[in-house]
């Protein structure tokens, strides 16, 4: 009974001390002096607004991305006891005492620090040596741009963390595939892949690129499995199961998770706020305050004689209400076209007493609501009477003021006999009311959360597709500048001392990463062509390693970089960081390959190692040189001028220049 006591309880722990050391160093580099500068740095001014809105539970829609990232930032604020009372209006503004700067910046910094052990693990899972893995981790550790981006309330480090986590879990899963399919660990890593992917997408839509890459790699691996004739005895059953589990974990779960982010977002934010306008009236009515205050206790159905306002539901660029006032259209427009000279009907984006209309039955004269009220139904013919001026909404065959192809809409004035009144309108529910005027369902005061989820979804998509304005910013850059790091971004400048923080990468690492990518491509092409002629330069398993490492690292770089050439939005250097991370991982891979397969003699091997050591110390040197602008240490003008290694860099020097 007490059999388990017969054997001693043994706990064997295997601790990779270098991994621990790396993590500690990472934490130190990212977390040290986190609350400095105690001022709004760069895009904190943007994300901070959302954090405040979360704290106050006020509804908003962010037009730049899905809500998970903002929610994580808000979580930091919540844990730090932030009350949301800070006016995020200017970069460089001093934080007031109620802002828990440290805890707001903690999560991104933590995510940035954890990227270092992740990089180590990824290289180990790609079957590269401990030494290469160590190199990758150190390069990430000493990358100034990643440090800068991690130390503030920004989303990129969280995004990169989830991307690397997704890659690592997929690799772990794939390596377990060979001998222990359907084991607990196998399932865990597969699930984690899906979860990390959806989190990456949930933080920024950019995560989609890596998700697609992993899906493609998973598809490729599955395709190879299909062709594996040793599995053919086991039959289609197993393959089917394999396919199903993968589909479930890599397709269904991410989608479900992604939807759940929006669910949480909506569940958290129940107060009416600045972005109500872009949502449907029905949704607005479900928020506390705002429209709900008006619609509370309103009748649900529109009847003849009801007083209503009509809102243009999907209007661009903003939603507005059907409106009329006593002014008439000018007799002639500037371009010489004539008008009906009748009362203007406009669409007005603000609430106003002139937005009220009365629904009238054309067959009856009086405007009162009959008892019992007769509801207006789909397909009914109605007249709309403007409440203040008591004129009928009318349209006729006169060109509209700005769109000559459409008919003019006016409020009919009786004196103009030559134009007969055409003031009968058919109500078409959820559809066009003759001239794209929608009857808004603003009389629904209850709206289930699932419905609004879809609405949010839809509107977010709509905003994304609509957004194309303002493609210029002082620190914006083009995608081509990123490879050579031609531009930097000034994040923060101390008002008096010369201390400043820039998003500026480790020059040495960026250059080596580019070289590594070129070397990888050239070598791969060379090997491929030689293999085609049946000349095998490297052993088959080394080739497989080389290819799979390339799939991840070069593939990751390509999918996270090239799409930006097709984008028309404003681009910044920090958009390149995920791609850069993958490119950095490639450096030790190429180095190890060179040393293993191209340095044949012992002498050349040791020469090569010496070169690598020299190169690595130059990386450390570059890190040291630029760390003042990474951490924001005060610098003299001369020192700042020395840092301006490239003319195109925008280092801020006081009382200099024109």
């Amino acid at each position: 009974m007490l059999g388990f006591l017969k054997n001693p309880v043994v706990v064997t722990a295997e601790i990779n001390l270098s991994l621990v050391a790396l993590t500690v160093m990472g934490l130190m580099s990212r977390l040290w002096g986190l609350s400095y500068p105690r001022a709004v740095v760069f895009d904190e001014v943007y994300y901070g607004q959302f954090v405040s809105l979360y704290m106050k539970r006020i509804f908003f829609v962010d037009d730049s991305g899905p809500p998970l990232g903002h929610m994580l930032l808000a979580l930091g604020g919540y844990l730090g006891g932030f009350d949301g009372n800070f006016l995020w209006n200017r970069i460089g503004a001093e934080y007031s005492m109620n802002v828990p700067v440290c805890s707001l910046r903690f999560l991104p910094a933590l995510a940035g620090a954890l990227c270092i052990p992740l990089a180590y693990q990824i290289l180990v899972e790609l079957h590269f040596s401990h030494c290469a893995a160590l190199g990758a981790a150190l390069l990430i550790l000493l990358e100034n741009s990643l440090i800068t981006q991690s130390r503030f309330m920004l989303l990129e480090s969280i995004l990169i963390f989830f991307i690397l986590l997704a890659v690592l879990s997929y690799l772990k899963f794939y390596n377990l595939q060979r001998h222990s399919s359907f084991s607990g660990r196998w399932c865990f890593w597969l699930l984690l892949t899906g979860v990390a992917c959806s989190c990456a997408v949930g933080v920024k839509y950019m995560g989609l690129f890596t998700y697609m890459l992993l899906l493609a790699i998973a598809g490729l691996h599955f395709w190879h499995m299909l062709g594996d004739r040793t599995l053919s005895n086991v039959g289609a059953q197993l393959l089917g199961n394999m396919g199903l589990t993968r589909g479930l974990a890599l397709l269904v779960i991410p989608v479900a998770m992604y939807l759940s982010f929006f669910y949480v977002h909506l569940a958290l934010l129940y107060r009416s706020g600045p972005h109500d306008q872009i949502m449907t009236s029905a949704f607005q009515a479900s928020l506390e305050g705002g429209l709900a205050r008006i619609t509370q206790g309103q009748p649900l159905e529109v009847a003849y004689g009801s007083q209503i306002t009509l809102r243009n539901v999907l209007g661009k660029p903003m939603q507005c209400w059907l409106h009329s006032h006593t002014n008439t259209y000018p007799i002639r427009y500037e371009n010489g076209r004539g008008s009906s000279h009748q009362q203007q009907v406009t669409c007005y984006p603000f609430k106003d007493v002139n937005n009220w209309w009365i629904v009238k039955d054309p067959g009856m004269q009086q405007l009162v609501v009959s008892n019992p009220p007769r509801p207006v139904r789909h397909g009914h013919i109605v007249q709309l009477v403007h409440g203040i001026t008591t004129r009928y909404l009318n349209t006729h065959d006169v060109a509209a003021p700005l769109s000559p192809h459409s008919q003019e809409v006016s409020c009919y004035i009786d004196y103009n006999i030559s134009m007969p009144a055409q003031n009968l309108w058919r109500v078409v529910k959820h559809n066009i009311l003759h001239l794209k005027l929608f009857i808004s369902a603003c009389y629904l005061s209850h709206c289930s959360n699932s419905e609004s989820l879809l609405f949010t979804f839809f509107f977010q998509w709509k905003i994304l597709t609509l957004k194309n304005e303002d493609t210029e910013h002082k620190y914006s850059s083009s995608a081509l500048d990123w490879i050579t790091m031609d531009t930097n971004i000034a994040y923060w400048l101390h008002p008096t001392s010369g201390a400043q923080i820039h998003l500026l990468g480790n020059v040495c690492t960026w250059a080596s990463a580019n070289v590594a990518a070129v070397v990888y491509t050239c070598l791969s092409l060379w090997y491929l062509i030689r293999r085609r002629r049946k000349i095998y330069d490297i052993p088959e398993d080394a080739w497989q390693l080389w290819v799979s490492a390339g799939q991840i690292c070069v593939g990751g770089w390509v999918v996270n970089y090239l799409p930006f050439f097709l984008m028309e939005k404003t681009l910044f250097l920090y958009h390149y960081l995920p791609a850069l991370t993958f490119q950095i991982l490639l450096i030790p891979i190429v180095l190890q390959h060179l040393s293993d397969h191209l340095c044949r003699s012992l002498l050349s091997k040791s020469m090569f190692s010496a070169l690598v050591v020299a190169w690595f110390s130059s990386v450390c040197f570059a890190y040291r040189t630029f760390s003042p602008v990474t951490y924001g240490e005060p610098l003299s003008v001369a020192e700042l001028k020395d840092l301006r290694w490239k003319d195109s860099w925008n280092i801020l020097i006081r009382k200099q220049g024109r």
Partner: protein, 715 residues
């Protein structure tokens, strides 16, 4: 004996290669150069039908239809030799012009707007030429499918789809670039496929012929429209694949491989490039008179055109400016001053006078030269107001500063001062007309004068906005050059020294075309066509006529054909995936099946499907205005895919039927049924292309009554 044997084995390597290549492909008879009589008859039949359908009622309607107003006009420009600008390369319009010239059209018809009657002008030559090229598409597609599938029914099905598609007929009947483009495109595909089937006898005469024909057609396709780039891509991918196969063939020595490689470089890169440049050479040689396109090009180029202000003239080496200033204030009286806009065409309002910032130069003082780094004032010659900027936001680009004309009779304030800088020069250098690229920096705010590229609304005469950008960055938008220059005190130079070389002209015209293409953005209130509309035949284009009494022609695909095509794409995907998986899993199939499936479905169908993708997907990423007719190249590929897929499907399933006669009957019956369906639907919809007169389709007495299956169709 050994001697005889050796003698016979003389041309060994070549023959051996040939037989080896042959073994890969199933022993099908069509490899023999002469087609059997049945195929020749079928080819004759489809060609005849194609020509008959395209030339039927060709002169109708006798007025300008749709884009004829552009391309007909451009044809006339070639005949009149006046310079013009278009966003497409010149070959298509040159061919139209040539056809008009040969058929006796004299280039006098103005082609002002759709609906203008041709009256006595001879337009049939141009229409006939386009219809001729459009008719060739059918035999081309027929031959391509025949080559890919080795199956007569598949080729016939494709041919009938294209013959009886109302969209293809309509698009071929007018003076448009599309039939010309599609001719070259299908020609390239056909020659590529033919060349592939000659792979067993490389470097033979027919191999060279098809390879170089591919190159010629590529140049043609590229020369008509930039969309030809997609077929270049298709051929390029095919060539890479081909070379990869050759590289993997260890029986080929590297030298032979090198020959293969060089042959392709010669025929598919150098030959098309030469032809393409030759086209432009002809274009610029023919158009030597000044015309409406001058303003799009640089001043140096304009000096080459007869009749242009800059032709054969000599001007002093400083001053002048291509800015126009119209005396209309910004709406709402936001600010005193006048709107400044860039104007693409040249007129008197573009002239400015350069003055020193601190003094008014009077006419008696000696000439002073403007130098790099000088601070100047620019006074508008017509209105005597100074070029001015201040920290108000510009009308469209909110982050830039507004630029206005300010002051009376040249007296303004310090916001009128600009620093003039030449790009890439040191301080103190003289500024030269035409050649110096200059930048104007506003002294007070440090911003740079530039055009934002955005078009102002009506109040700004739809001219281009000028702003002063505070972001000190090098962009082409902020570079200016002096063009006209009037100064009686300076010696004049002749502009002949500036004559650009042909390569420069070529590069410049491409820059202009690319800019023009991306500038074709949809206007406000314009209903644009979306790429996803196209395969479902969602909405057509009105070619002619709107009202009930008009002769109406509506560009719309035969819905039965198009929906069949759409359905087939899904079907093909299904078949291709299941075939690929079956082959990968090593499912037991007879070797005959295996060869057939992999060859026809994966290789042949794959090529065509790739062509469809390449001609369709890129449109989703284009920002410019899109129209329904952009889908037609993709539609050609889609139709070929339909022929191949249904033929394979019917053949595959009919094989399971027991007596071979039944199987054959089912197979042939299926194809015939499809063809009959297409012919019947064409009978229903033929008025779309051959003209509808009378009431609209909503009226029951209309010939099209009941045929308006989708509300979005406008007939």
């Amino acid at each position: 004996m050994p001697a005889a044997g050796g003698g016979r084995a003389g041309p060994g390597p070549l023959r051996q290669r040939g037989t080896r290549r042959l073994q890969g492909t199933p022993p099908a008879s069509p490899l023999s150069p002469r087609p059997p009589a049945g195929r020749r008859a079928a080819l004759g039949l489809v060609t005849l039908l194609s020509f008959a359908s395209r030339f039927h009622r060709l002169p109708e309607p006798p007025h300008v239809c749709w884009d004829e107003t552009h391309f007909g006009k451009m044809g006339s420009y070639y005949i009149n030799r006046t310079f013009f600008f278009d966003v497409h390369p010149p070959l298509g319009k040159m061919l139209i012009g040539l056809a008009g010239y040969l058929s006796g059209y004299d280039g006098t018809f103005p082609f002002q707007k759709p609906g203008d009657r041709y009256e006595q002008h001879n337009y049939m030559g141009m229409r006939g030429f386009c219809a001729f090229l459009g008719s060739c598409l059918v035999p081309f597609a027929y031959l391509t499918v025949l080559e890919l599938s080795k199956s007569l029914p598949a080729a016939l099905l494709t041919a009938f789809i294209l013959i009886f598609d109302t969209g293809c007929i309509t698009l071929s009947q007018y003076i448009l670039l599309d039939p010309i483009l599609m001719f070259f495109l299908m020609g390239a595909v056909l020659s590529m496929v033919k060349c592939n089937s000659c792979a067993d006898r490389p470097f033979s005469a027919s191999w060279w012929l098809w390879l170089s024909l591919t190159g010629v057609n590529l140049a043609g396709a590229m020369g008509v429209k930039f969309v030809g780039l997609f077929v270049v891509l298709l051929v390029g991918l095919n060539t890479i694949n081909d070379l990869w196969d050759l590289l993997g063939n260890l029986n080929l020595s590297l030298v032979t491989f090198g020959k293969h490689f060089l042959a392709r470089v010669l025929c598919l890169i150098l030959l098309p490039l030469t032809l393409y440049m030759a086209m432009f050479a002809v274009h610029f040689a023919v158009l030597n008179k000044s015309g409406p396109g001058d303003g799009f090009f640089s001043s140096a180029f304009q000096s080459q055109l007869i009749g242009n202000n800059l032709h054969n003239v000599s001007i002093p080496e400083q001053d002048g400016y291509p800015l126009s200033c119209h005396c209309d204030p910004y709406p709402g009286g936001l600010c005193r001053g006048e709107g400044i806009y860039t104007y693409l065409h040249k007129d008197l309002n573009n002239l400015w006078i350069i003055k020193k910032h601190d003094s008014d130069a009077d006419s008696s003082s000696p000439v002073e030269f403007v130098r790099h780094g000088d601070i100047i004032r620019l006074e508008h010659k017509e209105t005597s107001r100074n070029l001015h900027s201040h920290q108000h936001e510009a009308p469209l680009t909110r982050k830039h500063f507004q630029v206005t004309g300010y002051g009376i009779n040249g007296t303004g304030d310090s916001n009128d001062f600009w620093r003039i800088e030449v790009v890439g020069r040191r301080a103190g250098r003289l500024i030269k007309v035409l050649r110096s690229k200059i930048r104007l920096t506003h002294v007070a705010t440090g911003c740079i004068l530039g055009s934002s590229g955005k078009t102002l609304p009506k109040w700004g005469w739809e001219q281009v906005e000028v702003t002063c950008t505070p972001y000190v960055k090098e962009t082409p938008n902020s570079l200016w050059n002096f063009e006209d220059h009037i100064n009686p005190k300076l010696p004049n130079i002749s502009l002949d020294v500036l004559k650009p070389s042909f390569v420069e002209i070529l590069l410049e015209s491409h820059m202009v075309m690319i800019r023009g293409n991306s500038g074709l953005k949809p206007k406000d209130n314009e209903v644009t066509s979306k790429p996803w509309h196209w395969p479902i035949n969602y909405q057509g284009l009105r070619f002619s006529g709107v009202n009930e009494t008009d002769y109406r022609v509506y560009l719309l695909g035969n819905p039965v054909v198009w929906w069949l095509n759409l359905f087939t794409i899904g079907l093909y995907l299904l078949i291709a995936i299941s075939t690929a998986v079956a082959l990968k899993r090593g499912v037991q199939l007879t070797s005959e099946h295996k060869g057939e499936l992999s060859r026809v479905v994966l290789c042949g169908g794959g090529q065509v499907a790739l062509g469809w993708l390449l001609h369709y997907l890129p449109f989703f990423m284009m920002g410019r205005v899109l129209y329904f007719h952009h889908y037609f190249p993709a539609m050609l590929f889609s139709s070929m895919l339909t022929g191949i897929t249904w033929d394979t499907l019917l053949k595959f399933f009919s094989q399971f039927l027991s007596p071979s006669t039944t199987a054959r009957r089912v197979y042939e019956g299926g194809i015939v049924a499809l063809i009959l369906l297409i012919v019947y639907s064409f009978y229903l919809f033929h008025p779309l292309s051959y003209g509808m007169i009378g009431p609209m389709a909503s009226d029951p007495s209309s010939p099209m009554a009941g045929l308006r299956w989708m509300d979005s169709w406008e007939f």
